[in-house]
């Protein structure tokens, strides 16, 4: 969305990095603290729930491992998309973007299913501290995945146009890729901290 803002500043780049790319890097630093705070909250309330269900009552590790794998796989396709964009292979880029979006959708589908199942097993926002901190943490992660899907989706639609994404295609896809990888990495941390560590 910062499409050609930097056009008039291109010849500046004192740090040798594109303005938009730099913006995304610094923004992700901020996001680290955002998820850091949510994960800290989850950890602080670990073992503080007064009533069940507790994590061990509801977690289905094999299922979540599968959805984690799907999200990880989407990082791989994202790499391919960036590669395609950087090496002027638009067809490869579009296909890889599409694959990434599909993987992201599948992940979100898993999450919706998980939330629904947990709800049926009696876990909701007000049940206990686990419910509150779990749903808010993974919910905001899911929201980030959703925003990423809109981002990648508009990029895919944009690349279908006659001129594609223009002369900055590689940069645009690279920035989107940065965001997508970040969201994936955060999920790895969440999966490890929330699901795997007893």
């Amino acid at each position: 969305m910062a499409a050609s803002e930097a056009a008039h500043g291109e010849h500046h780049a004192s740090a040798g990095v594109d303005n938009r790319l730099l913006l995304m890097w610094i923004f992700l630093a901020s996001e680290c603290l955002f998820f850091g705070s949510l994960i800290s909250t989850y950890l602080i309330f670990k073992g503080e729930s007064l009533v069940r269900p507790l994590p061990e009552d509801v977690f289905d590790i094999p299922l979540t491992s599968l959805s984690t794998f799907v999200l990880l796989f989407s990082s791989f396709t994202m790499v391919l998309a960036v590669y395609g964009a950087q090496h002027a292979r638009p067809r490869m880029m579009k296909l890889a973007l599409l694959a990434t979006i599909i993987a992201g959708l599948i992940f979100l589908g898993f999450q919706v299913y998980e939330f629904k199942t947990f709800g049926e097993e009696g876990l909701n926002l007000s049940t206990n501290q686990f419910g509150a901190s779990f749903f808010v943490l993974t919910g905001f992660h899911g929201t980030h995945v959703g925003v990423g899907l809109l981002y990648l989706g508009s990029m895919l639609i944009g690349s279908m146009r006659r001129n594609g994404l223009g002369r900055d295609t590689a940069t645009h896809v690279e920035i989107a890729g940065l965001y997508w990888h970040f969201v994936d990495i955060v999920w790895i941390v969440i999966f490890t901290v929330v699901y795997l560590i007893p």
Partner: protein, 600 residues
């Protein structure tokens, strides 16, 4: 497409309402931040005067308890988020590109968006007075008092939504400024040649970038507790009110440095110009600023010494807090070193800058006192702390901002603020501030807690409260004198030359006020004090080549539209969800239009 022929003298384009609403020019955005920030400064000041009027005599009956609690809460929120921060942002906007030799910030439209979102959040938060009552849980909104159960009114909801919107604005602005400093510097402007003001600004932006997400999470949790049945902070359900305090202060302590560092930067610009010598110990001042910021992330629990912290955290947070005295001391000594051996020209800007050193020193020293947990156990939540923060924020931040206003006014408007009125303005503020806030030290030592709307006459607090109230009226008169000065000056003809003060930094290399494109030719920087270096070495900046056109980003109404969308989004959360949906639609439409809008 806006183009300005580089060879033409600066022509101010026609200034209509629409050009202001759609502007992406950092100078216009800076001016809008400045005007709205000052307007809110006046509102926050009026709130303070009401508070002082109520407390002038024991058992005051001017305002009732609930209104008083709203007023002290809004006084803090207004001054911090709606006055000092935007006034700082005003200078950042106006002078960042000028001081680093750029034609604009990295993302001009994002910059406009930051302002409109700020205005949306500010209006929303302030409108709470009209719609059902302002926030009344203190600006710190400690849980569990902030729960629906104890404060059922809409005040806290305004607080949550308002701060979330304002935080979004600050985050966007900070990202933009940080990228600009890192990436848009003129040739030769290495990091260690950056003006100290720009350095402090960069530090402020990173503080915000890294602390805002933490308060965002806390606010989201509070929002969920109040509206969506979670119990993050409800002790009876397993929640923990202390968690809120941690998250809040992890943000709010760096926030204190967000308020003071810009003024430290301004003073570091003003002192050398009027002492006619380079800043003493540039590197030390820069590194001290960075050190304050880094340490600033490791001291938050000193706001929580009385919450029953264990011995070890008390010692650790006390040590890290005291350690901040070291870089702070370095700065003060270096400013004194800058005065030493100078040929000091005293005008109003310099008065404020020198007063800053004295008043900030007092505020810093009282800060060291309650860095010691035992001492804090007597001073915490008393008027001693009120005295301390006002020496830092009024004697420090506000004095620095006034120094900046008097210093940069000719650059921004081409006009000099009147010196006679300026000095009257200065002395009224200086004397008023000391009469208002110094007695508060005594009140605190005498055991007067903060945030009380009334007190009995049997406690020995009558005299100093009356003195403080008298002082606050003197402050009010001082501000009126400034307003008279401002409006009177704006009626005068602009006469300022490019560099009337003989300053060293790049904003003085262009006309006063600067042309829309800032510089006819991007200057080349050869020294930390570029204009003095050029002067001393007889270097002329190159003339612009005839026929060269400078491309400027065209105006855009999408930032304004998106700001409106954010406002509706916020209003919707507080009233009817249909408005939220409308706001979301407007935002999506704006993003789309924004992305497709040609910018060159």
């Amino acid at each position: 497409m806006a183009t300005a022929a580089g060879t033409l003298p600066a022509v101010q384009e026609e200034s209509t309402l629409w050009t202001w609403l759609t502007t992406v020019d950092h100078k216009k955005i800076g001016a809008m931040y400045g005007v709205s920030g000052f307007a809110f400064f006046l509102i926050g000041g009026l709130e303070a005067l009401l508070i002082r009027t109520q407390l002038a005599v024991p058992n005051g009956t001017v305002i009732d308890a609930d209104r008083f609690n709203q007023l002290f809460t809004m006084h803090a929120l207004t001054m911090i988020f709606l006055a000092i921060m935007p006034l700082g942002a005003s200078f950042f906007n106006y002078f960042l590109p000028l001081m680093i030799g750029a034609r604009d910030v990295a993302f001009p439209r994002l910059n406009a968006l930051s302002f409109w979102v700020f205005l949306a959040g500010a209006l929303l938060l302030s409108s709470s007075f009209i719609f059902g009552g302002a926030p009344d849980g203190g600006w710190f909104a400690y849980a569990p008092l902030s729960a629906e159960e104890f404060l059922p009114g809409s005040g806290l909801d305004f607080y949550v939504v308002g701060l979330l919107i304002l935080g979004t604005s600050s985050l966007m602005a900070s990202l933009n400024f940080a990228v600009t400093v890192i990436n848009m510097r003129a040739p030769g402007m290495s990091m260690m040649r950056l003006p100290v003001f720009i350095w402090m600004m960069l530090v402020v932006n990173f503080l915000l970038i890294l602390s805002l997400p933490v308060i965002t999470v806390a606010l989201i949790q509070l929002l969920f507790d109040r509206n969506f049945t979670t119990n993050f902070f409800t002790p009876s359900e397993g929640g923990d009110p202390i968690l809120w305090q941690h998250l809040f202060w992890v943000f709010a302590h760096p926030e204190v440095y967000v308020l003071i560092l810009p003024s430290m930067g301004i003073v570091s610009e003003v002192l050398p110009v009027f002492a006619r010598k380079p800043l003493f110990g540039y590197s030390a001042i820069v590194f001290a600023g960075v050190a304050i910021a880094v340490l600033g992330f490791a001291v938050w629990s000193h706001h929580m010494f009385t919450t029953g912290l264990d011995t070890v955290p008390q010692v650790v947070f006390s040590a890290s807090t005291m350690a901040i005295a070291v870089p702070t001391g370095i700065k003060i000594f270096n400013w004194l070193g800058t005065l030493y051996g100078g040929s000091i020209h005293f005008n109003t800007a310099m008065y404020f800058a020198v007063a800053f050193i004295a008043l900030f020193t007092i505020g810093g020293l009282s800060g060291v006192m309650h860095a010691s947990p035992p001492v804090d156990s007597q001073q915490q939540d008393t008027y001693f702390i009120v005295a301390h923060i006002h020496y830092v924020l009024f004697g420090g931040a506000i004095a620095g901002i006034f120094a900046g206003i008097y210093y940069w006014f000719p650059k921004m408007t081409g006009r000099f603020l009147d010196e006679t009125l300026g000095k009257l303005n200065f002395w009224l503020l200086f004397i008023g501030m000391n009469i208002t806030f110094f007695p508060m030290h005594f009140l605190g030592l005498s055991g007067m807690p903060r945030r009380i709307y009334t007190y009995d006459s049997d406690l020995g607090w009558d005299t100093w409260n009356m003195v403080a109230t008298v002082g606050s009226y003197i402050l009010g008169i001082g501000i009126i004198v400034f307003l008279i000065n401002f409006f009177w000056t704006m009626r005068k003809e602009p006469t300022a030359s490019n560099n009337p003060w003989g300053a060293a930094t790049l904003e003085w290399a262009t006309t006063s006020p600067p042309p829309e494109h800032d510089f006819d030719v991007i200057p080349e920087v050869r020294d930390r004090d570029p204009l003095w270096y050029d002067r001393d070495h007889g270097i002329e900046q190159p003339e612009p080549q005839p026929g060269v056109h400078i491309h400027l980003p065209p105006p855009s109404y999408f930032p304004l539209l998106m700001g409106l969308g954010v406002l509706l989004l916020g209003v919707g959360v507080l009233s009817h969800l249909a408005l939220t949906a409308l706001g979301a639609v407007i935002i999506v439409y704006s993003v789309w239009g924004w992305a497709l809008e040609p910018t060159d």
